[in-house]
């Protein structure tokens, strides 16, 4: 498997990965693009969507196409932190404590319905997500790169859920909204299942691995070389700073959002085959970066505003950079 050396090769590889994923995830091109940007940027993704739209399929396909380890945890109210990270257990044979590694010891971790677990268990993921290491019995274990958490939450069923704390939300690079496919895409999907082109179940065997962990590391290194003009960076910062003093928003985004926006815009430019970032790239990634980092005021919610509509207004009002 060859690893990209130049930005052009990186773009080509990124497109190949994207193409493979779009073969099984019909009509979710935007979601696939955003998840890949997060992967290249080294961030985590919170996916929100109703069941049955292919969230698990997305992660399995990603693991297959990138030849990465994949684990899935179904979050439930009785899930304990040690069920996620692992624990030390006494082995009577050797008369010693043995570390039993939890499902978080992987490269792609699907945290399904993350908001069903109590805060204590959700917090167990904080260290994993931020420091990419797991501490068991005082001993720190570093996770292998790349490591990415894809957490899902269901927007409809809020009964018995624990909303994610702001500190944890901020650690997700993107919040990706996965919606129903369009009519044409759904027709294509049903036809492909009916004629046996793809299986109705989560069958990803038809996919071939086009990259590996080293290739992802190379993509990450190359995306960091994409040129970011000071004016464009200033535009990104102005967008984030405006969220802190914008009508209808009570809590704006943190400086972590500014960093995320700049990094994600570089990866977006790489996907577009450019070695420089344009203001358009910033706008493309602004919504997934900011939508979970802003909190609407009470009266904005009463008036029926959503984070999406607030960001729409914000993007329209913050002046585009000029040269």
């Amino acid at each position: 498997m060859t690893h990209p050396q130049t930005l052009a090769e990186a773009t080509e590889l990124a497109h190949r990965i994207e193409q493979q994923l779009n073969r099984v995830l019909i009509g979710q091109q935007q979601v696939v693009r955003e998840v890949l940007i997060a992967l290249i940027t080294g961030g985590h993704v919170l996916v929100e969507g109703v069941p049955g739209l292919g969230k698990t399929l997305l992660v399995r396909s990603l693991g297959r196409v990138l030849d990465l380890d994949f684990n899935r945890i179904q979050f439930t109210p009785d899930l304990m932190p040690t069920d996620v990270t692992g624990h030390a257990m006494y082995d009577p044979k050797s008369e010693q404590f043995r570390i039993r590694r939890g499902p978080a010891f992987t490269q792609l971790l699907l945290a399904d319905e993350i908001n069903r677990a109590p805060a204590k268990t959700q917090a167990a993921l904080l260290e994993v997500m931020q420091e990419r290491q797991i501490t068991i019995e005082g001993k720190a274990f570093t996770l292998s790169e790349p490591f990415m958490v894809l957490a899902t939450q269901n927007p409809l069923d809020q009964e018995g859920t624990y909303p994610l704390p702001e500190a944890e939300l901020d650690r997700f690079l993107f919040k990706v909204l996965i919606d129903y496919p369009g009519h044409d895409d759904e027709t294509t999907l049903v036809n492909m299942v009916l004629d046996g082109t793809i299986a109705a179940s989560l069958d990803v065997d038809s996919l071939t691995a086009v990259a590996d962990a080293d290739a992802i590391a190379a993509l990450k290194t190359l995306s960091a070389t994409v040129l970011l003009d000071p004016e464009v960076l200033d535009y990104a910062l102005r967008l984030v700073r405006t969220t802190r003093d914008f009508p209808g928003i009570i809590h704006g985004a943190s400086p972590r959002a500014s960093i995320a926006l700049a990094r994600a815009a570089r990866a977006q430019a790489l996907f577009e085959g450019r070695d420089f970032v344009t203001p358009d790239d910033i706008q493309q990634v602004a919504r997934p970066v900011l939508r979970h980092r802003i909190q609407l005021s009470a009266d904005a919610e009463i008036e029926g505003q959503t984070p999406e509509s607030a960001l729409e207004r914000l993007l329209a009002q913050v002046e585009a950079p000029k040269q």
């Binding site: 040129l227 070695d275 904005a300 585009a320």
Partner: protein, 491 residues
């Protein structure tokens, strides 16, 4: 009261929307108001419950219930300050307790105790400081117009309180081990000390939630009523217009004397004095301090000519015979002046209505009606472009200033395209977004393919710091001139 400091948007709402706002207020300050409620009531409740247990009587608990209007007042004081960004510390609340209990409390604890409008009327006594007939008159004014639903709110919260208490008692009953063999009837209906303590504690726990919520909803209903009656939203809107639209505000202020002229004053001092005395009487609203803006150093001559103009417009005098053949008839001039005045007033009203309709933003429909003046910070007004575009671009190319040359060309192309193919452009619209919007709204056109090439060259020059070759700019300019000539020939 500085309305601009309000944490919630003061807009006219329906009564149930106002109640919804009340629940939001409660959720926002649930922590502090619960603490205030506990600090105010925990000790009295414990003492009265002790007496109740000792005497095996519910009268002391009834007394606690009877004193609810008193317990609610500090909570209301907290909300009224917190809404305007002022946080009252616990100590301050306790210090001000006598002032909260000054107005209307005796009535609320006696003949008005069973009033279903308590949550609403409490605001008049406590926050406005109205007393006696003034308070009654004020409450009549506030009760006018659409119903405020305060009575319905009391009924709902009363039921909520009862059902939640019963629910808690039922939950406790379910948690009692079966070995105790406790009958449901004895749990609910026996009057033993334990039952009194448990049921009263359940009721108190429920009140910790329902009482601050009830006060918040009543407060929100009161705010909403005042917004309707006193036009707080308009006041805020006009203040914002005044800030953002300086010129518009000045125009309004200039027109104000014309719209609202000083009435002619008759020299009737005794009648005026009498009127002042009547107005100062108890039957009218309490005096309020008011601040208004006035022109500084307004000279008499200015107001005189304004008055004279108004008098001239309003008075109809028979025309005198004028022998000058060039002079216009007085009636015609007056008619023209009226028409001009009406046109200016209508223009202002339309502008204000449009502005309010757009939610107080300058964006909105501007893009639909008038072509944009800027795209991504580039000035695309015709007057900002050089008369001879080709010469200006060539001059920039000779100076090896590719960026200026491309910028001129892009501005000229956008200035030509956008009036013909209108699209909505905001302050945040980028060049690439503008191109996408053109394609989306007007389909694929040959001109758009050209614009795509131009935008690509511009983006590379502007953001990649890699200016294109001068020959490429010349080629783009030639292409544009060809397209332009072709368009005109076709037209």
């Amino acid at each position: 009261m500085e309305l601009e400091k309000a944490n919630a948007r003061l807009a006219p709402r329906g009564p149930w929307q106002a109640v919804d706002l009340g629940t939001r207020l409660y959720r926002h300050w649930a922590g502090p108001v619960t603490l205030i409620w506990l600090a105010m009531t925990a000790l009295p409740f414990a003492a009265l419950l002790g007496v109740s247990v000792q005497t095996e009587s519910l009268w002391p608990i009834l007394l606690f219930w009877w004193l609810k209007p008193l317990w609610e007042r500090p909570v209301l004081a907290f909300y009224s300050h917190a809404l305007f960004n002022e946080t009252l510390a616990m100590g301050a609340i306790f210090r001000r307790l006598p002032s909260y209990a000054r107005n209307g409390l005796i009535g609320q604890l006696t003949w008005r105790r069973l009033s279903p409008w308590r949550s609403f009327n409490n605001n008049v006594w406590q926050l406005e400081g109205a007393r006696g007939d003034q308070a009654n008159q004020r409450m009549r004014v506030l009760a006018s117009g659409q119903p405020n639903r305060a009575a319905m709110l009391t009924l709902i919260v009363l039921h909520l309180e009862q059902f939640m208490t019963l629910g808690l008692l039922a939950l406790l009953y379910m948690l009692i081990p079966w070995q105790f063999d406790l009958e449901l009837s004895s749990w609910f209906f026996e009057q033993g000390s334990l039952q009194i303590v448990i049921s009263c504690l359940c009721w108190y726990l429920v009140m910790v939630v329902t009482e601050p919520l009830y006060v918040a909803c009543g407060f929100a209903l009161y705010l909403n009523k005042r917004t309707w009656l006193e036009g707080w939203d308009l006041q805020l809107g006009l203040t914002r217009i005044g800030r953002r639209r300086g010129m518009l505000a000045i125009a309004l202020l200039l027109l104000l004397p014309v719209l609202n002229p000083q009435p002619a004053r008759a020299d009737d001092q005794p009648a005026r004095q009498q009127a002042i005395e009547v107005l100062a009487g108890k039957d009218f609203m309490p005096m309020e301090e008011a601040h208004e803006r006035r022109w500084k150093d307004q000279s008499d001559s200015e107001s005189d000519w304004m008055r004279a103009l108004w008098k001239w417009l309003m008075e109809h005098k028979p025309e005198e015979k004028n022998h000058d053949p060039m002079s216009l008839p007085d009636g015609l001039i007056r008619t023209l002046a009226w028409l001009l005045f009406i046109a200016v007033a209508l223009w202002l009203i339309i502008r204000i209505l449009r502005y309010l309709d757009q939610g107080g933003t300058t964006a909105g429909r501007k893009g639909e009606s008038a072509p944009p003046t800027h795209v991504a910070g580039l000035d695309i007004r015709q007057q900002s472009l050089p008369d001879n575009l080709t010469a200006a671009i060539n001059q920039a190319l000779q100076a090896n200033d590719i960026r200026t040359a491309l910028s001129l060309l892009l501005r000229a192309v956008l200035a030509d395209l956008l009036p013909r193919y209108p699209v909505r452009v905001h302050r945040g619209t980028t060049e690439q977004q503008c191109l996408r919007a053109l394609r989306q709204q007007h389909g694929e056109q040959p001109l758009f393919a050209y614009l795509a090439r131009l935008v690509d060259a511009w983006v590379r020059t502007a953001w990649a710091h890699r200016p294109v070759e001068a020959s490429q700019v010349r080629e783009l300019l030639d292409h544009w001139q060809q397209l332009h000539r072709g368009e005109h020939a076709h037209a």
